[in-house]
Amino acid sequence: MLRYLSAFDHVFGPLRLLHYITVRSVGAAVTALFIGFIIGPRLIRRFRELKFGHGYIDERTGALGATYFDKKHTPTMGGLIIFISVFFSAVLWAEPNVWTVVALFVYTALTVPGWRDDYLKVVHKNKDGIRSWEKIACQTGATVIALGVLLWHPQSSARIRELWLPFLTAAVIPHMHWALLLVLLYLWVVGFSNAINLTDGLDGLAVGCTITVALVLGIMAYSAGNYKIADYLLISYVPGTGELAVVCSALIGACMAFLWYNSHPAEVFMGDTGSLALGGLIGVIAFMIHQPFTLVIIGGVFVMELLSVVFQVGWFKWTKRRTGTGQRLFLMAPIHHHFQKKGWPETKVVLRFWVLSLGFGLAGLATLKLR
């Protein structure tokens, strides 16, 4: 919303800087970082109280603080730290338009079931959390409303029906049927929600990979919203989506702040509050900038984690049916546990997966030029 102040540059010259997406992106990242650092310790203390009761003191910590934390004693719901940081930073720095509204709406709508799931498990000690139908209902509702708004609003309705693929210079389907759009958006939102949920199994893994994905998506959103760059790169030009680069920058800043507390040994986990919502956010952003299949490349680590579970379960069931004895493809799924079982320390798995995520991100960026 600070963008509106650029209209008063005749009163105070430097306000014209707020017109530029790049300036506001940096502002959003820094603001989200600060908000995360300010609210982080307070919320972690609150989450600890919710988990263990008021006045809980972990006797093992002493002067060395988090060194002695273990996963059983680590509070969850840290996704709320990321949500508050992203939300207020994005609202402050991004210009309100249909794209940013839909992105924040989907993010909010998926934070709610995630938070409720964590709350039931932590506070009410209900190990099942929310029922499956509630989760599916929320995800479906969020997708339907998001798509409804995108199809209704004049700024988005014309372009949202196009389907673009990486490496191609034109839409493969210029006008998709709304049912196909719904299925695609649903698959992407729910698919990446679950993928990040599965990835969130080691300290700093999910949030670290989300930073690289958000960085690349931010660059792509800026390119998609800039006519000259989109024309030069032969990618889809979608007016107004440049503001999603500000949302992505807010996400980067928030994730950086969260990583400060989530790095090994973690003081807080993001829980379903974070993982479900982050997956939905990156899924819907990729969809809106016409790069849904590029997200499969950029978010390669998340896809790898999801597929490792799918293949592990599928292979086990298939071999059991055929031979009577189920066999495993991996030592354990998701795949980060496979490497732990092979003897890799947790931090090595996390850092190597971050390297992989960067590699996938660069590969995704390369698709902008290899067309």
């Binding site: 939300f87 609202v91 609003h153």
Partner: protein, 43 residues
């Protein structure tokens, strides 16, 4: 009047599942988001 307000506030504090700070934070968030949505979707 102030005694009535105090009594209502005390009853609300006892019946609501969240603290006043949480409720205020959620109300602030809802107000900000509403303004953002209205500005963003206005044609």
């Amino acid at each position: 009047m102030s005694a009535m307000i105090k009594a209502i506030t005390k009853q609300l504090d006892a019946s609501l599942p969240f603290s006043r700070t949480t409720m205020l934070a959620v109300a602030l968030w809802a107000a900000v988001f509403t303004v953002f949505i209205v500005l963003g979707l206005s044609r």
